[in-house]
Point group: C2
Chain length 399, copies 2
């Protein structure tokens, strides 16, 4: 039995996606910049893919920039806008629950003279729009707010945030990597000026991202050279991955509505089953949440140990985000909820996907509870959830 519940870390490449990619890993290998039949073929398919992506997002094709990853798109949006527009002001805003691609880029910008405000989230994992309003000063030029969180799946009020930013003349970027499969992706409805999408989270290949950039927003490159992608992202176009990305996005958006309902039901069954365990807790709001995310803390055990036992049973999930699993730090997202380290260390992210079936859920609900019990018997800690949370708020919740 193999139950892959780590779709927030990466998804498999859909067979239909691979199928459209293969010709470009085979005979149709031209460089889009070459002035001969094979180059023109490559240039045409890249153009077609761009047009397709633009249409799917309700954007113009000149607003679609292909990059090498979601991380690169985040970096390009943040560095690209802030460095280019430094003269307009040096105050920038983000949240405490961003992906490291955003947080670490903001850290870097601090060294370049920017002042950074990190918005808090409440216990549910949501930002406060009034706090956003109050944070904006005459000196604020840019904000980055994650659309749906990669660890706990909470969905921020991005369209409302976009309205506030627009009124105050602040450019808004949103990391929509986790949102793409399940949420509104029409750029005019999202309202952000810059939007990051990642191929490897939507059943496309690794090594491809998109940055949507509203036409009148000026950014500078982070990678210079041959001037590909309207001069904003140099390097020979990854034709196969670009074609694959367009197909993956097409499939994701076309199946979004029914898939959100289907996966949401499975997630709810998983959540209620796991919450039957004592001293367990859903991290982040249930209501404003991605339909594929269940992030649950099992107090009085180590999440990593639980993960390893689950692994032996073929259940694949994550602690925190996969992108920082090398680190021993508890998840910065769980901490931002005002929860104690213990809950961070005992949290597991189950991220469902289009292959997830009801029997997968049944298998998890049958196998995980006995492991949780076993691990708790071995644990020196035996707090109740109330005790843990009470201690956490006082000791660990740093605003």
């Amino acid at each position: 039995m193999r139950v892959y519940m780590d779709n927030a870390a990466t998804t498999r490449v859909d067979e239909e996606v691979l199928e459209v990619m293969l010709p470009f890993l085979g005979e149709r290998y031209g460089n889009p910049s070459s002035m001969h039949a094979m180059g023109i073929d490559a240039k045409t398919v890249v153009g077609d893919a761009r047009e397709k992506v633009a249409k799917l997002l309700g954007a113009d094709e000149k607003e679609i920039i292909f990059t090498g990853s979601g991380t690169e798109s985040d970096n390009l949006a943040i560095f690209g806008y802030c460095r280019k527009n430094k003269s307009k002001g040096n105050h920038i805003i983000t949240t405490k629950v961003e992906h490291h691609a955003v947080l670490d880029s903001f850290e870097r910008l601090k060294k370049e003279g920017f002042e950074v405000t990190l918005l808090d989230v409440d216990r549910d994992g949501l930002i406060d729009l009034e706090e956003l309003k109050r944070a904006i000063t005459d000196n604020t030029i840019f904000a980055s707010i994650i659309y749906a969180n990669n660890e706990i799946g909470t969905v921020q009020p991005i369209a409302e945030a976009a309205k506030i930013c627009k009124e105050k003349g602040v450019v808004l970027h949103t990391d929509a990597c986790q949102a793409t499969n399940y949420l509104e992706m029409d750029v005019t409805k999202i309202g952000a000026d810059l939007i990051t999408i990642n191929g490897s989270k939507i059943y496309g290949p690794k090594g491809i991202g998109v940055l949507y950039k509203k036409r009148d927003i000026m950014i500078e490159p982070i990678i210079y050279g041959g001037g590909q992608e309207f001069g904003i992202r140099s390097g020979t176009e990854n034709v196969a991955n670009i074609v694959g990305f367009a197909k993956a996005l097409d499939m994701a958006l076309n199946h979004r509505d029914e898939e959100s309902i289907r996966v949401g039901k499975l997630r709810d069954k998983l959540i209620s089953g796991l919450l039957n365990l004592p001293e367990s807790r859903l991290n982040g709001t249930h209501e404003k949440r991605l339909p594929n995310n269940a992030n649950i803390s099992f107090l009085n055990l180590e999440g990593e140990s639980l993960l390893l036992y689950m692994n032996e049973l073929g259940i694949y999930a994550s602690t925190g985000s996969a992108c920082s699993s090398d680190s021993l730090e508890p998840s910065h997202v769980i901490i931002a909820l005002g929860l104690p380290h213990e809950l961070g260390h005992s949290s597991i992210r189950f991220s469902l996907g289009k292959d997830t079936t009801e029997s997968d859920i049944d298998y998890v609900l049958k196998e995980v509870p006995p492991i949780v019990e076993k691990l708790r018997k071995m644990s020196p800690l035996h707090k109740t959830m109330e005790e843990a949370i009470a201690a956490g708020v006082d000791k660990d919740f740093k605003h």
Copy 2:
């Protein structure tokens, strides 16, 4: 008949390379950062690929950084070193015949307060090591010298340049994208501190590069986030492309010696055949030249027209470098040779590869001369080569 002579722009993905990639575009899709069997599998194969690449280059595996392209590797070397080590000095050196990934990064660094010296090349396309020595001041921290030129295939004395730089405490980067298939790639013999390699030039996939970084050289990232690649290049590892790169490099280096001889002979036949045409000229030295490159100017015609006629006959080549074919500027490399614009505009790059056969050469030598004659009949210009060059040196050669 299809004769692909644009291998300097991009190469096809070798079937054996694609074969090792496919499992990672299929069932083995884990994220190397995930702590379960599929993540561990992905992490292991990335580690194995890194070890293989390191061994092939005579390097340590901690010295191998996977990036998204050759262009990104160039940028990472240049920005990464210069920004990190700004306090040591603000003078940096490169040549007039670099790829735009290098030239444009240097241009950008000028805006960040660096002073740039551009080394000349002689009529053969080679730098003068004495000029390099003279250019280095107490304030010089970094130099970037292309190993083999992408347009004219000339091979710079990189090991000697490395010795000079080392003596003077200057860190040296070299763009080895075009060199990899044919020249010495042992990093200890090259002697540079930072070396760029590109997957798509060595029969690997597009969207993968390597930066070799000598262990004691400190650089900072251009892309921040999850901390992959020793914290130097964030973003989920492109497992399929990394595995494919390692295979492609293995094949390239293992077949290098016999392939250099085989391709070199074909190139020589091509060059002497085309130089039989009146008012034609080989750009760059014949002696210190990649065995797969023939860059020839056919005076009194437009290179782009010739390219289009050749395209109709299934002969695929380039004017200048593919990466800047959108631009109407004549090649900066041809201009750097001290040749006039006319020779830049009439130059064609034939870049041979492992699929090139003798009958390909025969086909080109049969089909191209009549097109050249035809185009010249239509041209308003009828200079001799001597007249053109004499005019060029005075008017266009800007030192």
